[in-house]
């Protein structure tokens, strides 16, 4: 990060560190990060469950918690970026299933190698994102309406096409087809670390978080994402390609949906066409708990990951602690509320002292 390979023609600025700033303490840098509220919450929750349910701390349990978190977290990566860009997507939950169904039905119906189905499913997923984006741009409708419409349409397509093609409401099993085993190894295998099987989705998740963070903080595109979410008009006025960035974000969400869709397909051999409904809110919740502002312009990919981890811990922790799960949703709602309040306070502080 510190390697500045400045072009030789450029004058090296001679300003030294301003004495009024002094060395920023690690703490104050941390406090300025969007995900700090979530991080504190995550640590507190971890300690809490470690005390009430000691089995929570066993490596195998942690692997399970991470797996539960990863299947939310993979989507939360894309959804976080999109929310920083000032939009959100209600079609993500069913889009995951659309992708899985595409891969499975295409391979099954035409008797193709499974990998061909996977590639076409990627095209389908990116296309869904692209269409969401282009409709949003062309109609200037709020993303709430546009993606609500695509959510309903995809739900219908999932059910209708699956029955029309496969003759049943769940996709036919493709476990005996060529390419299935290698695809399963890529999307739905486990990696043995010190005797503990960790699902591959955990690594895919982490990789996506790292890539997304890098893009957000270290590239132009990241700068543009923050800008279009923070103030779209200002961004347009200084020449940021708003249309391309927004459509790109929706396609990135589509890509994440494809990754998770493929995991769903190869972990369970067949997919139920009615699945996925309601999950879009979990992804949004993860992003919001992780410090992404609903109004855009603020947040981080790591925050979304921490949000997903909190979700995973709360969801599985209640099972480990053997509590009555009736309260889980209440608990989740409370987390969401607290996180949002923390975010508002942070935003106020960032914008204030004019």
């Amino acid at each position: 990060m510190s390697s500045t390979t400045a072009s030789p023609t450029h004058k090296k600025p001679s300003l030294t560190q301003d004495e009024r700033v002094g060395k920023k303490s690690t703490l104050s840098i941390l406090l300025g990060r969007p995900e700090i509220g979530a991080l504190v919450g995550a640590v507190a929750l971890f300690i809490f469950f470690a005390i009430v349910a000691p089995v929570f701390l066993s490596p195998a349990s942690l692997a399970t918690v991470l797996y539960g978190a990863s299947t939310i977290g993979i989507m939360a990566v894309g959804v976080s970026l999109l929310m920083i860009g000032g939009e959100f997507d209600l079609s993500t939950g069913v889009a995951v299933i659309s992708s899985a169904l595409s891969a499975s039905l295409i391979s099954w119906y035409f008797g193709l190698n499974v990998w061909v189905g996977i590639a076409l499913a990627l095209v389908v997923s990116l296309l869904i994102g692209f269409i969401n984006g282009i409709i949003l741009i062309k109609t200037k409708l709020p993303s709430f309406i546009v993606t609500l419409a695509s959510f309903l349409m995809l739900t219908g397509l999932n059910l209708g096409l699956t029955r029309a093609i496969g003759g049943s409401v769940s996709s036919p099993s493709i476990a005996d087809m060529e390419g299935f085993q290698s695809a399963k190894a890529v999307f739905a295998s486990s990696v043995n670390i010190g005797g503990i099987d960790v699902k591959i989705t955990v690594f895919i998740w982490l990789a996506l978080v790292i890539i997304a963070s890098w893009v957000l903080l270290q590239t132009k595109i990241g700068n543009w994402i923050f800008a279009i979410g923070g103030d779209e008009k200002a961004a347009r006025a200084v020449g940021v390609p708003v249309v391309r960035t927004k459509i790109g974000l929706f396609m990135a969400v589509g890509f994440c949906g494809w990754v998770l869709g493929m995991h769903n397909l190869f972990a369970f051999d067949s997919v139920q066409s009615g699945e996925g409904i309601g999950n879009e809110f979990l992804y949004i919740i993860a992003a919001v708990i992780g410090g992404c502002l609903l109004t855009g312009g603020y947040g981080s990919a790591i925050g979304g990951a921490i949000g997903a981890f909190i979700f995973g811990m709360a969801n599985k922790g209640i099972v480990y602690a053997e509590w009555n799960p009736d309260w889980f949703k209440f608990f989740l709602g409370l987390m969401l509320l607290l996180a949002t309040v923390v975010n508002i306070v942070v935003k106020k502080r960032a914008e204030s002292s004019k």
């Binding site: 600025p13 270290q218 700068n223 923070g230 103030d231 008009k233 961004a235 960032a350 914008e351 004019k354």
Partner: protein
């Protein structure tokens, strides 16, 4: 990347076409007009912008000021008259094209993205990168240093370029936007009501930076509805009313009082003063209030 090189080539071609020809103004408008459907937003506007000079555009709300700057900044295209840049007629298709042609606009509300750090705002849309191909990353260190340097050159002394720009005062934010335009090679700088939302002190700060920019050889277009802000810094004054130019003066031709009276529409103002006098007001104070118009929001 493909796209990028293409865009740069386009900009170069454009600039070549726009090579300065002698005796021409930097930017001229002749009889420029614009209508939205049946509504005429602007017509018959003439003006010139020259390097090292400040052209003020004055007018009340709805006079057509914003339409005019949107045409110059490439957000809208004129459909009447002639717009020439370096002597060649031109129609700007987008803000990007305008920027590439050296026209930068600083808007009152949308100059910056409040939640982003100062340095990110400074380079927004024109980020510096290092590396090749998909591994191109932002040259954060250099961008921070340049931001600090450029702001210092403009006389803006900031503690920390990493703080969100929203934390700066209104005047300081305008200044960052001006410094940004100057750094990125703007030849024409459009300032849209930079002082409208500012208090007296902050307005003074901004006016000083307008002169800074002028002294650096930029042609400045300063849009305001406050003659008292325009007069001290302006070299020529274009007055707009209901989409028409009602006067175009150089500084020597007009006094601040005349400017005020012209702007408020002399007779109308006298009538209003009379009316208010009958209600128990004082006409000098009224004139003062008119002159210092604009919301004096203390921030």
């Amino acid at each position: 990347m493909n796209m990028k090189t293409r865009k740069n080539k386009k900009a170069e071609e454009l600039l070549q076409k726009l090579e300065p020809k002698t005796n021409d103004n930097l930017l001229t408008l002749k009889g420029v007009g614009k209508h939205y459907g049946s509504i005429i937003a602007l017509r018959g506007v003439d003006m010139e912008v020259d390097p090292g000079r400040v052209t003020c555009v004055l007018g009340d709300n709805g006079a057509g000021k914003s339409t005019l700057i949107k045409i110059i900044a490439g957000l809208h295209q004129h459909d009447e008259g002639e717009f020439t840049l370096h002597g060649s007629a031109i129609k700007l298709k987008s803000p990007r094209v305008a920027l590439d042609a050296g026209i930068a606009a600083v808007y009152q509300d949308l100059a910056v993205v409040p939640l982003m750090p100062i340095w990110r705002n400074f380079f927004l849309g024109s980020e510096l990168t290092t590396g090749v191909g998909p591994f191109k990353k932002l040259d954060v260190q250099r961008m921070k240093q340049i931001t600090k340097q450029e702001l210092a050159d403009m006389g803006i002394d900031l503690r920390d370029v990493e703080q969100p720009i929203g934390q700066l005062s209104g005047g300081e934010r305008q200044c960052v936007a001006i410094a940004r335009a100057v750094y990125f090679g703007a030849k024409v700088l459009i300032l849209d009501e930079p002082t409208a939302a500012l208090g007296v002190k902050q307005s003074g700060v901004v006016l000083r930076y307008i002169l800074q920019a002028r002294d650096r050889g930029l042609g400045v277009i300063f849009i305001t509805h406050n003659p008292h802000h325009a007069y001290p810094v302006g070299d020529s004054f274009l007055l707009l009313k209901r989409g028409r130019a009602i006067g175009y003066y150089s500084k020597s031709e007009i006094t601040v009082e005349e400017l005020t009276a012209q702007m408020a529409g002399g007779a109308e103002l006298a009538e209003l003063a009379h009316e208010l006098e009958q209600l128990g007001g004082h006409d000098e104070e009224l004139a003062e209030a008119e002159a210092g118009a604009g919301p004096q929001v203390a921030r």
